[in-house]
């Protein structure tokens, strides 16, 4: 199946795909109008020993998978949610003043079933004085395990996003700063296919059955998204970076090109999708089940299993299949593999296509929590940290690097504030570059 031998057909397919993409984004942009303005709100207050009502400001309240907010001076908070469903809302007891505690220390979260189209008010009952029962310690085993599991989940998603970046670097020497936008692309296209199917944005096609006209199941949407992502990756290489390589544009200039591409795509996403956070039609809000003291939603468990399976398939493909071996060979030594008969351009094309497809799949997984125009950009630093830790250009390095980065970042919240966990990405980068710049899996060579 040598697609590159039929450039004209491919050109046509690509142009159609691009038109489809823009129609898609255009369609997505119309959804916002009928979004109901839903939210969960409440007020944190308690009666002091003198009997007056005191409002608690500066406490953190969060809804699983959505944003967290801080209460204002009146103790009020409101968290916008994407639609009706079940939400688990939790109060960060560590953010309460020392003199205030929950009446029942185990009730630091509430499950809310949002079915109406208006705000739901929740109440956390607080009391004066510090906790009667010793609240869970910072380093409680349950908390460490919970954070580790969430870290592994994040690491698995990151791994999907990182493999492509690492392989593209390996085969072409190019650090693709637009890789995060491939993740966002998946995130948004998943939303589009989920709501409109393949062509539902075009008025007269809307009545067609799923997945053509009306919106399709998220699993079908994920498959379609991977195909769309693959086409985008193939197109980026075929129409932008391959011609640039051929006409001798230097690697540094190509890197600036990827940055330009990244900004271009990101703001096109913003232009059509607008700045709000949305959710997929299904699986958006689920109740977390307890299992051995760990809280996980069914979608978390399912997506982690799917991720592991896909990563195993990738690993097997890289080790055992002909094209996978060719990819690793070209990554390892381009000249040597070219002289031993590997078609390097074909391998590069395959790397871009699969890398982008995997990145868009990662976008779908991130989208289970939130769909936004900058979902990829938010994880870009973590992706960089992962590939550097694993060793730029090594596929397996990227996988392990991502898992380690996911764990480190989540476990770091045992010691530092959640908002500062992004710092860990930079810390990992700097530490790796200072002490082992070739990464865990990279070959030791002069990279200065």
């Amino acid at each position: 199946m040598n697609l590159a031998d039929r450039p004209q057909t491919i050109n046509k397919i690509f142009v159609f795909a691009l038109i489809g993409l823009f129609l898609g984004l255009f369609g997505v942009s119309r959804v916002s109008a009928d979004d109901a303005d839903l939210g969960i709100s409440g007020q944190l207050k308690y009666k002091s020993s003198t009997g007056e009502t005191v409002f608690v400001s500066g406490a953190t309240v969060s809804v699983d998978g959505l944003e967290s907010v801080t209460t204002d001076e009146k103790g009020s908070f409101r968290i916008p949610v994407p639609g009706p469903g079940e939400y688990r809302i939790s109060l960060d007891t560590a953010s309460l003043p020392d003199t205030v505690s929950l009446k029942d220390a185990t009730k630091n979260f509430l499950n809310v079933n949002l079915s109406t189209d208006k705000d739901q008010v929740v109440i956390f009952s607080l009391q004066d004085g510090s906790a009667a029962v010793a609240s869970e310690s910072r380093f409680a085993l349950r908390r460490v395990v919970q954070l580790s599991v969430e870290g592994i989940k994040f690491g698995l998603y990151l791994a999907l996003a990182s493999v492509g970046l690492s392989l593209i670097f390996g085969t072409t020497g190019l650090v693709n700063f637009a890789h995060a936008e491939l993740v966002t692309f998946g995130n948004l296209m998943g939303f589009f296919f989920n709501y409109y199917g393949l062509a539902g944005a075009i008025g007269f096609l809307a009545p067609l059955p799923a997945p053509l006209g009306s919106g399709s199941n998220l699993i079908v949407a994920a498959a379609l998204t991977m195909i769309a992502g693959g086409i985008l990756g193939y197109g980026l290489n075929r129409f932008i970076f391959r011609p640039a390589r051929r006409s001798g544009v230097s690697l540094l200039a190509q890197m600036v090109m990827t940055i330009g591409g990244s900004i271009l795509l990101r703001y096109i996403f913003l232009y059509f999708f607008t700045g709000g956070t949305r959710a997929y039609r299904s699986y958006s809000a689920q109740r977390a089940n307890e299992f051995l003291g760990i809280y996980l939603t069914p979608k978390d468990i399912a997506s982690m299993i799917v991720c592991v399976v896909i990563l195993l398939v990738i690993g097997f493909g890289l080790k055992r299949t002909r094209s996978g071996r060719a990819m690793r060979a070209v990554s390892d030594n381009r000249d040597l593999s070219e002289s031993s008969g590997i078609d390097v351009e074909k391998v590069i094309s395959q790397v871009w296509t699969t890398g982008a497809a995997l990145a868009s799949l990662a976008g779908i997984f991130f989208g289970l929590d939130a769909v936004t125009w900058e979902s990829g950009f938010r994880v870009l630093l973590f992706v960089f940290a992962s590939v550097t830790l694993g060793g730029l250009g090594t596929a397996f390095g990227a996988l392990f690097g991502a898992l380690i980065v996911g764990l480190v970042i989540n476990l770091s919240t045992l010691f530092i504030d959640v908002e500062l966990k992004n710092m860990m990405a930079l810390l990992v980068l700097v530490v790796v570059l200072m002490f082992k710049p070739q990464g865990l899996f990279g070959r030791k060579e002069r990279i200065g």
Binding site: G58, V249, L252, V256, I259, R266, L380, D417, G448
Partner: protein
């Protein structure tokens, strides 16, 4: 359509505060990238260092405004050392990774709740620039008009100081780059191994270049927040870095006056296009909004789409920019 208004806005922008601020920032980046070939993808971090060096000193430590200016320089030096020491011995792209990571990390950290007592968190810092405006010879609230230009007295004072700084610094960069130190930088950009074999300590030169350019970036940050009168963490996001890159590449890297030229071209184009779009007749606006979603917000976002497209095309087809020369082109070799 009110062409008079459009041209007044465009001309006023051409030498307005944005041009000064971005030209100063691009001047710093020019030292990094144009003359030394360093891939600094987090230049906005230096602007943030300058802004918060001033802001934190006044807001948290309650120091004098003028001491704050000194602290802005100290912050930028510290940042340059943190970024440079681990990465400058490595291949060029590692500096790119670390700088973009650092600039985002700084933004996220200073806007966090934990840092609120020190940096003002997401709300930021305001009311720190009074000592500067006290020196103004112009009436701060009055409009001054000369020819096609029209500025508030407040902005006019910023402009006088800003342009003086900008021209002095540009002349300084021009002289320094003719001096042996500047020649060594360019030698390192062209061929690091050759420079090393002639006994130049490439690592030390690169660190010095990072410090020098970073300090000018910090000056840009200070001018920006003094002009705005407030410091907002989210104003220091990566797309600002790449706007500066675009300005530098438009003007042509490794030429002393290119940051000013690039900044003027970029800002007058953007302001002209935006004002023309905003001045279209209501029917046209409505049609555009219903077909290609050209709302007011989106007109504001369009400049970033231009930046992206512009960078992509310039890097591909004309990396030396409009005035640059191909021989002086860091993007070309390697």
């Amino acid at each position: 359509m009110d062409w008079g208004f459009i041209f007044e806005r465009t001309f006023s922008t051409m030498i307005g505060p944005e041009v000064v601020i971005y030209a100063l920032a691009a001047l710093g980046l020019n030292i990094h990238f144009g003359y030394t070939g360093l891939l600094n993808f987090g230049h906005v971090a230096f602007m943030a260092a300058g802004a918060y060096g001033l802001g934190v000193s006044v807001y948290y430590f309650h120091w004098n405004f003028w001491i704050g200016l000194g602290m802005a320089m100290v912050y930028s030096i510290v940042l340059a050392l943190i970024l440079g020491i681990p990465t400058l011995r490595l291949r060029a792209d590692y500096l790119g990774l670390v700088t973009i990571a650092a600039s985002e990390t700084i933004r996220i950290t200073v806007r966090s709740r934990v840092m609120k007592p020190i940096t003002g968190g997401a709300e930021g810092i305001s009311e720190f620039s009074k000592p500067f405006y006290d020196l103004s010879p112009f009436d701060l609230g009055k409009f001054y008009k000369f020819g096609p230009f029209r500025y508030l007295g407040r902005d006019l004072w910023v402009l006088v100081v800003g342009w003086t700084l900008l021209i002095l610094l540009t002349l300084m960069v021009q002289q320094v780059m003719r001096a042996p130190w500047g020649r060594a930088l360019r030698a390192i950009r062209e061929d690091e191994d050759a420079a090393r074999s002639l006994g130049k300590n490439a690592y030390a030169f690169k660190i010095q270049s990072l410090l020098f350019g970073g300090a000018i970036g910090a000056v840009a940050g200070v001018v920006q927040v003094v002009q705005k009168g407030s410091i907002q963490a989210d104003g220091f996001n990566p797309v600002i870095t790449f706007t500066i890159w675009m300005i530098l590449i438009i003007g042509g890297p490794a030429r002393p006056w290119s940051p000013i030229a690039g900044s003027m071209i970029y800002w007058s184009l953007i302001i002209f296009v935006e004002n023309v779009l905003r001045q279209l007749s209501p029917q046209t606006r409505e049609t555009l909004e219903s077909t290609i979603k050209l709302s007011d917000i989106n007109i504001g976002q369009m400049r970033y789409i231009f930046v992206g497209l512009g960078l992509l095309l310039l890097a591909r087809y004309r990396p030396q920019g409009i005035f640059g020369s191909r021989e002086e082109m860091a993007l070309d070799d390697r």
